[in-house]
Amino acid sequence: MDRERFIAEIEACSGMMYRVAWSILRNDADCEDALQEAALKAWEKRARLREERYFRTWVTRILINACYDTQRKRRRTVPLDEIPEQAAASAPDPALAMALGALPDKLRLPLVLCYSEGMSYEEAAAALRIPVSTLRGRIHRGKDQLRKELDAE
């Protein structure tokens, strides 16, 4: 993958990358950090991407790792645990943001990848490195919990 193609792919994925990063980190400063880290890591590792059509899934995996790295660094200095209202305030649907934010990561991320970003179960499972059957279970539980959170609003 050459530089121009790489830049175009990142641009095309930028919205998705932001939402995935936000769903884990929930603040712009950390998202900036993780997004930059992911872009640089993706470039370094581009030789490992055998088929460019899988770029989106592949970069999502790298981004999730970058987000967790950012989160770990942050927790050493700042106990910035998730603050649902704060994260939700700027979303078009704050109640939905609040409900989604209340889910644990392992249930939230499958929902975000499949229902916000339109990934297939296979793509989302690859991005999360979990079996498709596990992903299905988490989607089911995630939807169930999300419904309960929304109904409790």
Partner: protein, 378 residues
């Protein structure tokens, strides 16, 4: 009415991508051919002591008393004293109680000035419910230090058990609870802290702090408490019934009492940073010290982001001041203003000192450093 999941557009749960984030991402992507790709664009670093993970010191508290902020600081920061003015505000807090199923959250010590908001709440249950701090149900009870080990002793279980294991052993239901203060934009200053301690009666006291933006014109602060109680499934350790509430109210903001900009009578440059301004802003909670520096030639933005330099404050006799009640150290760098760097700290005093001594040190443990010092007089 039940929510129809197929009607939900989950993208509405996310804010639009900010220009900062988009620009940062694309700058990184476009930098890949450069010899040294640009790696960071942090514009703000907030350091709040990681109290949740900190091993705790012994607490001396009278049996039967509800834990307040004095107990919190004596547990975690014995060098932090709450000035009298803030003590009075905390004591005068109008108590209010919110119920979440079997859990009662009683707010009892709140405080706000233009940089800091504090809230504490006592968490109790009328039923035979075990209560642990949010998301701690699978942690060992003793993992958070002496205060929690004593709670295990009160319960008559080993501190090496998890909360779930203890609840099973005792045959009691378990709830994890969270109770935090939240001031939303534009008041949010970018940092939070939360922690919990058990008082001598075994009740949980929840403490939360939010860093505010420093606007001295605010007289009342609109805040929300985020209350969450989750019943834990003892078979799986997972939450099975989550109750939340978000009561909103206004919190009176303590006014700034006095301010002073210290005159710099000598040059002070350490670690590539030249001191350009020191301003004190006194509130009932203590003295905020806003220091400005100019990064000198040779220091890059990345160098600064990697550094851990912060001002440490001493009195005229060279004795370090304790941390202020904001429990934070905030360093702000707006990339557009580079090489200007602003740092905010706080000390526990009730008047602006005539003499202050500052050292820019490479750690945030007061008294540790041997860095050069500068004396500032009023």
């Amino acid at each position: 009415m039940k929510t129809n999941m197929d009607d939900l557009n989950l993208q509405n749960a996310f804010p639009a991508m900010s220009e900062n984030c988009h620009d940062a991402l694309m700058r990184a992507a476009r930098s890949v051919k450069e010899e040294k790709p640009m790696k960071r664009n942090l514009y703000r670093t907030v350091l709040v002591t990681a109290l949740i993970l900190a091993a705790t010191m012994a607490v001396a508290a009278a049996a039967g008393s509800v834990f307040g902020w004095n107990d919190f600081f004596s547990t975690h920061h014995s060098d932090t004293a709450i000035p009298q003015g803030a003590q009075e505000i905390l004591s005068a807090t109008e108590e209010r109680t919110f119920n979440l199923g079997p859990i009662a959250c009683k707010l009892y010590q709140l405080y706000a000035d233009h940089y800091t908001a504090l809230a504490s709440a006592q968490i109790t249950s009328s039923d035979d419910v075990l209560i642990c701090m949010d998301s701690c149900q699978l942690d060992r009870i003793g993992a958070n230090g002496d205060n929690w080990i004593r709670q295990a002793e009160r319960l008559g279980v080993s501190p090496d058990l998890t909360w779930v294991e203890a609840a099973k052993q005792l045959g009691r239901p378990l709830y994890s609870v969270r109770c935090i203060l939240n001031a939303q934009a534009p008041y949010d200053g970018g940092g939070e802290m939360e922690d919990a301690l058990y008082d001598a009666d075994g009740n949980l006291s929840y403490f939360s702090l939010q860093v505010l933006g420093g606007d001295t014109s605010i007289q009342t602060l609109p805040v929300q408490m985020f209350l969450r109680a989750a019943e834990i499934d003892l078979a799986t350790g997972e939450e099975k019934n989550v109750l939340t509430d978000r009561p909103a109210f206004d919190l009176a903001v303590a006014p700034m009492i006095d301010s002073h900009t210290y005159e710099l009578k000598e040059d002070y440059t350490v670690g590539g940073l030249k001191l350009t301004s020191v301003r004190g802003e006194l509130t009932p909670g203590g003295l905020y010290l806003i220091t400005e520096f100019a990064a000198q030639d040779g220091m890059t933005y990345a160098d600064f982001c990697e550094s851990q330099l912060i001002p440490v404050w001493y009195d005229a006799e060279g004795k370090p001041y304790g941390w202020g009640i904001n429990d934070s150290y905030i360093s702000t760098v707006n990339e557009a203003d580079w090489p200007k760097v602003t740092m905010l700290g706080m000390i526990s005093v009730d008047k602006i000192p005539d003499t202050l001594v500052m050292a820019l040190e490479d750690d945030y443990i007061p008294g540790k450093g041997t860095a050069p010092r500068i004396t500032l007089t009023r």
